[in-house]
């Protein structure tokens, strides 16, 4: 039986897409545990499998996608074994998701209020009038001004930031235990992004839900997350607390990422980019996925994928460099 301390536990999750040109292993053996009220950040470039991880938990993969092995435990229960009907109950009431583009995730031909009420009525036995009350309450909660009027408007009448608030209201309709946010602020301006991030932190404190934050923005990750998981080519490079990742990165990819973004320390210096181009998932190297772009690559990196190694109390990394360093240190000692 799994530890009930965690609201979500993912063990060795593999997800593949079966395309005409072959099997694409989008997620390749992922493990993590999520405590209630905590925020996990998943960071990576496009094609790193961060979104697919999120979609796998919700089981909203496209037709060709399938979880091939592993388990996703929600409070100790494996939801990959759920039937579609059980999943429908799970989605929305236990775990909700908000997407990057609030315009395409709202239906343009129904009013915002109607769509909110729909979500509420689906998961509770409220009637339309009660659902409307709840919808207004939710919009108030997420800081939409004048919700009584806004509820009758269509999504196109709302601004980008407000639409994202609508989406959050919808996601919170049934007070889920987990909120998955897939690049929730990428399409928004910085000032609006700050509003939305602040709102998510406030709601998390009030409602005590766990958040999985999927993003490519290291800035957003640094300000929001307790724990961070860095992904590359469908695998986890490194996971640990925010301080572990930012102040003691133990994977060459994470180190490279931190060198390549403009920060206070390198404002007047040249950025150090990661060479090469992101990986093609159809053509994965035998060893470490990052090996073709890694400056420190060794012989073993070409042939064998590194296993997850504990480098600190809360810090795990999959990079052979750590073994090499540990070996060298032991020789010196």
């Amino acid at each position: 039986m799994a530890d009930s301390k965690y609201v979500l536990e993912v063990n060795d999750l593999h997800t593949s897409f079966f395309t005409d040109s072959g099997e694409v292993k989008a997620v390749n053996g992922i493990n993590f545990k999520l405590e209630p009220g905590k925020t996990l950040g998943i960071v990576g470039e496009s094609g790193s499998g961060k979104s697919v991880t999120a979609y796998s938990i919700m089981q909203i993969l496209a037709q060709a996608g399938r979880i091939t092995s592993g388990e996703v435990l929600y409070k100790g229960e494996d939801i990959t074994k759920y039937s579609e009907k059980e999943m429908q109950k799970f989605r929305g009431s236990k775990c909700s998701i908000i997407f990057q583009d609030p315009m395409t995730s709202l239906n343009p031909v129904f009013t915002v209020g109607y769509q909110l009420e729909e979500a509420i009525m689906l998961h509770t036995n409220k009637n339309r009038a009660q659902a409307r009350e709840r919808a207004i309450e939710l919009l108030k909660l997420v800081g939409v001004n004048d919700p009584e009027k806004r509820i009758h408007q269509y999504p196109h009448e709302h601004s980008g930031g407000m639409r994202q608030r609508d989406m959050i209201a919808m996601a919170l309709a049934c007070e889920p235990d987990i909120l998955i946010a897939d690049e929730p602020t990428t399409a928004l301006d910085v000032t609006i992004q700050a509003q939305i991030l602040e709102l998510m932190q406030k709601l998390q404190k009030e409602l005590g839900m766990a958040i999985i934050m999927v993003t490519h923005d290291l800035g957003v990750i640094a300000s929001m997350c307790d724990e961070i998981m860095v992904m590359y080519g469908g695998r986890v490079c490194e996971r640990g607390t925010a301080d572990d990742i930012f102040y003691a990165p133990a994977h060459e990819y994470t180190k490279g990422l931190l060198r390549s973004i403009p920060r206070k320390e390198n404002m007047n210096k040249k950025l150090v980019p990661i060479g090469g181009t992101p990986i093609n998932l159809l053509n994965m190297p035998a060893g470490c996925a990052f090996c073709p772009r890694c400056d420190e690559a060794m012989k073993i990196c070409l042939t064998e994928a590194p296993e997850e190694i504990r480098v600190g109390d809360t810090h795990l990394a999959s990079c052979w460099m750590n073994i090499k360093e540990a070996f060298e240190n032991s020789k010196e000692a």
């Binding site: 601004s159 301006d189 910085v190 000032t191 509003q195 991030l197 800035g219 040249k270 980019p273």
Partner: protein, 326 residues
């Protein structure tokens, strides 16, 4: 007039677009009375939220739009002056002013090979005497932006986003310009690729001495690449100063909140810093507030702000601010 020689001077530039509202046509003031100057080899960063008119500024400078009013001087020659009714033919100047677009996917013709994409500006301005010379020029341009010569016969779709942006940059460099408008050139790229392209912009500038107008919404990238930064809000420049000065001592309340809203990739700073959250959204440019456009979201707003737009005044060290209260 100052003694310093500027490559590009813009004075009181206005760009209005007519928008139908019922039966009436009302002007949408995309750019409303802005002035700035860029020195040769300098990078001016232009930041602001979407809809503030930063892209319009870039396009108006290159005269992809017909300016409504104002004056544009490039390299000592007046390109446009609404008062003196000067409006020159842009064709010869396009050799000196170029543009790199945001989306590397839609800004390259899918039916042309890389060689033809980069070669087209050479064709238009007849910059070669023989086919061999054309090819040599194209290959050397490809080398400048870090593309292999064997890629010349490929089509745009065969490249990744970062490589496509390199093709776009090579095309802009083909005519040996003095000034390039970079309209969000790294926004569509992955983090690890962004640094490659930012570095390339800096290297090209060191080598060729081109000046950039670098338009972007990512303030950290803009800070890194720019010498000076201008902050725009609803068609007006609110503050313009040296990059470090603007970041260390922002004066305008809008700049302040914009900078505080940027998520800093550093957990320690993130824990300790306080975001200044702006209330509400940017007003519609069709229903612009009277006076200072920022006053509806500004906590210092007074009556004077509602009456009059504050002028851009020098606060020392070429740090210009448009605010009555600060």
């Amino acid at each position: 007039m100052s003694e310093e020689k500027y490559l590009l001077e813009v004075e009181h530039l206005k760009q209005y677009f007519p928008v139908k509202e019922g039966f009436r046509k009302v002007p949408l003031k995309a750019v409303d009375d802005i002035s700035f100057a860029i020195k040769p080899g300098e990078t001016l960063g232009l930041v602001g939220e979407s809809g503030c008119g930063k892209t319009t500024v870039g396009r108006t400078l290159l005269r992809l739009y017909q300016p409504t009013a104002g004056r544009i001087v490039f390299d000592g020659e007046v390109l446009f002056d609404s008062e003196k009714k000067i409006d020159v033919d842009m064709h010869p100047f396009r050799k000196q002013m170029q543009m790199v677009f945001q989306d590397p996917y839609s800004s390259l013709d899918p039916r042309m090979t890389v060689e033809d994409i980069i070669g087209e500006p050479l064709d238009v301005h007849k910059l070669y005497s023989s086919k061999g010379e054309r090819r040599d020029k194209i290959l050397s341009l490809m080398e400048t932006v870090g593309l292999n010569a064997e890629h010349a016969m490929r089509y745009a779709h065969e490249f990744s986003g970062g490589q496509r942006q390199r093709i776009g940059i090579a095309r802009a460099l083909a005519v040996d310009p003095k000034f390039i408008v970079c309209d969000e050139p790294v926004s569509a790229l992955d983090v690890s690729i962004q640094a490659q392209v930012v570095n390339m912009f800096e290297e090209i500038q060191e080598k060729l001495g081109v000046a950039y107008l670098f338009i972007a919404h990512d303030l950290l990238v803009v800070h890194h690449i720019s010498d000076r930064i201008a902050v725009m809000y609803l068609g007006h420049i609110m503050e313009i100063a040296d990059a470090d000065d603007l970041n260390n001592n922002p004066v305008h309340p809008y700049t302040l909140s914009l900078l505080s809203a940027v998520p800093i990739p550093d957990p320690e700073t993130a824990r300790n810093s306080k975001r200044i959250i702006l209330e509400g959204d940017v007003p519609s440019p069709l229903k612009m507030p009277s006076g200072c456009p920022f006053r509806t979201r500004c906590k210092y707003a007074t009556e004077q702000c509602a009456r009059e737009m504050p002028p851009l005044t020098d606060r020392g060290d070429r740090h210009f601010v448009a605010c009555w209260n600060k």
